[in-house]
Symmetry: C2
Subunit: 465 residues, 2 copies
């Protein structure tokens, strides 16, 4: 054991891992911080993959905000890229790490271990046969974006891409593949697109947009198997019949990479991700979990949630960095904001839907309306659909959803996300002094109208603070 | 006196007055609600005038969301347009109202009186000579927009418009007159444009944009007098010399129309507007004041403020409607959000500047940064400037300002405005779960980066709630 040196071992160089490593080195430059990463990338943004596939982003390098060398040279972090943890012992606090290029192994001691091992696609679990087909893709890593694009660009004119799953990744993939000139069929197991983001009525607007742009949407169609020959898939068998295609992209189903956590006996939570407390500690001494491998608390409901989203991962990384460096911090959780843009249409949600709020024990009331993004007399004013949900008994805001042809849809949801984080009420929303100028916003913003509608049900009196 | 009938008399049919009248009739259809208005317009939006002047809006009718007939026929409000209150007696609770077309007068009794008399330009107070010139304009009413446009369109090619005052109205007028093909000189008494909205460093970005679009900006130039002959002004004399022009638009200096309030002895507050308590009552029994004639409380500092902005006026109207209809409500105040868009650039502020926060007794710290509106690798990502101010001792958010070529500048400020209304902290901002998707936002939004910078000074620990 070193006398003053503290060994911090971080497994996984994604957003969470690198945010943690950077924060620790900033606060404690003398700590010995090592990051072990299977791939050759660090601080990567898998969220950019659909845009890489669709040529909006030209190269993988553009997706990397910092090069791995930056972390090593400028921040003094030991970067072990293309290394994998092959053994781990919580008693000696040692990990055995294998160099994937040379096959050599080394043992690394930790005083603090951070699991930032991320998540992975369940596609090969669900459909093992896809590994035998060269034209079925699911997100493995940044390279997947390149591979999808290269395959798509070499298909003959008029070819069809089948996208499985109409969640965020599926929607973004559908648009990007359509932009490359392919016919696109979007296949979803459930009865609506964006099933985790939007209520069915708002999702229907997204489906209509997809169809109007030539994307065929097939709902209620769980995929039973992929069929093909000579190493190429030619169709999927679904509950709604067989769907043929020239290439297939699976954008559905991910799970946390909990194997290492399980190897050292860390508790797995009710969400199937690694359990953490608000200090981001696992159930094992000196072991933390952050990012897509870890669960955390929903600020609105108080329930445990697993939300594998980059901003949450970054904030967990930053927070655990503070904690490991000895500062007084904790991770309060998230409120479940999620957004997408597809064919010009922005969809966004935050907090709970009315159904989710009922399940969480609230007495939710909902305001649902169509409103204008700007003063009605200004060019460029657009109608958007908005729902806001609040608790009948306390007036507390619980969630919101919106869809429309304006990026301000996301920003209206962001206003609610901020208010949810601050545990604010419908009266706080009503009296929120949002900016007004004719070219920018209407005098009664749809958000304020929603609050007014909710106050009809909840009452007009702000809670005194 | 009627046995059950309640007489409500509202003076002024602007946003505040009509919001109050509509709310009362909705809750108490049997109340006798009368609105007295000098002009022929109701529920008007003076904020649209620069856009009427610049032909973005074609007719006055477009600025009116509802026609006056709508309020009379659909909402059962007695609309006395082109009527003026010429006498008022608080003991008998009676107003003498004159029909401006016929000259007839009638006496109207009130059980509840609402002063919604608005504000007016101080231009003729400052420079009485302008009333003798046909080519000097200041905002009197909606017609001003038509008059400015008509005059501008009849000037010869190459003519110059001089706009006095570089506040919101002046900036919007400058752009709209430039769009009509005029050369524009913008003259400001203080040392920066947007002096009430932005700190000097951010205002400088706006000045540069104006100049790059051909608007000549003259700062530190208080106007001493207007000069002219034959009923037309030809120049203004300023501290920075004489400035010639073919037409002049004054967009500076307004004051509340407190005359009626003073006639009945209602207290005038420290801001020179009518004092109100949080029930929007004046110091006179059964008399309320709302909108641009009334002062209210700043939620951030607790101080009395006068903020003649349409959204505040609407909310005061809605709130006083609830109160007069017997519901349990109060008006908590505003946080001072103000926004503008000029030549593509959006400027926005909310809450206190660092200087204002110091004056209000806080110990403010500021984060100032340039950030990207979207993921750095996406087309359309734009750099914006953002400042966020928080209190060193408590972490409470105090204000924010931003400027950039993106309407999301206003929305970032709106997120802060919501959090200020909810009295939230810098930790609430940091952990605010803002939406992220590459085409919509960066993973570390400039707002979250600002919070992180502030936490360096204030500390990383969220306050437990």
């Amino acid at each position: 054991m070193h006398s003053t040196m503290v060994d911090v071992l971080i497994i996984g160089a994604g957003a969470a891992g690198m945010a943690a490593a950077s924060r620790i080195k900033r606060l404690k430059p003398d700590y010995n911080v090592t990051v072990v990463e299977k791939t050759k990338y660090a601080s990567f943004a898998l969220c950019g993959i659909p845009y890489l596939a669709g040529c909006t982003v030209k190269t993988i390098d553009e997706l990397l905000y910092y090069k791995p060398e930056y972390f090593a040279k400028k921040r003094g972090i030991n970067m072990l890229l293309e290394h994998e943890v092959v053994g781990i012992d919580k008693n000696t606090q040692t990990a055995t790490v294998k160099n994937l290029k040379t096959g050599d192994t080394i043992d690394l001691h930790w005083d603090k271990l951070v699991l930032a091992t991320g998540a992975r696609s369940r596609a090969p679990e669900f459909w093992p046969e896809i590994e035998t087909y060269e034209n079925v893709f699911y997100i493995k890593h940044l390279d997947t974006g390149d591979q999808v694009r290269n395959y798509a660009l070499h298909l003959p004119h008029g070819s069809t891409a089948v996208v499985v799953g109409a969640g965020y990744v599926g929607l973004e993939m559908a648009e990007n593949l359509a932009n490359l000139g392919l016919k696109v069929v979007l296949v979803e197991a459930l009865g609506q697109v964006a099933p985790r983001a939007l209520d069915p009525d708002l999702a229907e607007i997204v489906r209509e947009r997809l169809e109007s742009k030539g994307v065929k949407v097939v709902l209620n169609a769980p995929v039973k198997e992929f069929r093909g020959r000579d190493g190429r898939a030619t169709s999927i068998a679904t509950e709604e019949g067989e769907i043929e295609g020239d290439m297939f992209v699976v954008g559905v189903g991910i799970r946390p990479n909990t194997e290492l956590a399980e190897m050292i006996g860390a508790r797995i939570g009710e969400t199937r991700a690694v359990w953490t407390n608000e200090k981001l500690e696992t159930s094992v001494n000196n072991v933390y979990a952050i990012g897509d491998v870890a669960e955390h608390t929903d600020i609105v409901s108080g329930r445990r949630v697993w939300r594998p989203f980059a901003p949450v991962a970054n904030k967990m990384g930053y927070t655990v960095g503070n904690i490991i460096a000895g500062r007084d911090a904790y991770f309060p959780g998230s409120v479940g904001t999620a957004v997408f843009k597809v064919f010009g249409l922005t969809g966004a949600r935050t907090g709970l839907s009315k159904k989710e709020a009922e399940k969480a024990g609230f007495t939710p009331v909902e305001a649902s309306l169509e409103g204008s993004t700007k003063a009605h007399y200004m060019p460029g004013a657009v109608k958007i659909k908005l729902k806001v949900i609040a608790d009948q008994d306390t007036g507390r805001l619980l969630g919101a959803q919106a869809v429309g042809d304006s990026e301000t849809v996301m920003w209206r949801i962001n206003v609610i996300a901020g208010l949810l984080t601050a545990r604010a009420t419908v009266w706080d929303l009503f009296y929120s002094d949002l900016g007004y100028a004719p070219p920018l916003a209407p005098v009664w913003d749809p958000l304020i109208i929603a609050a007014r509608l909710l106050m009809r049900k909840i009452g007009p009196r702000p809670v005194k603070q």
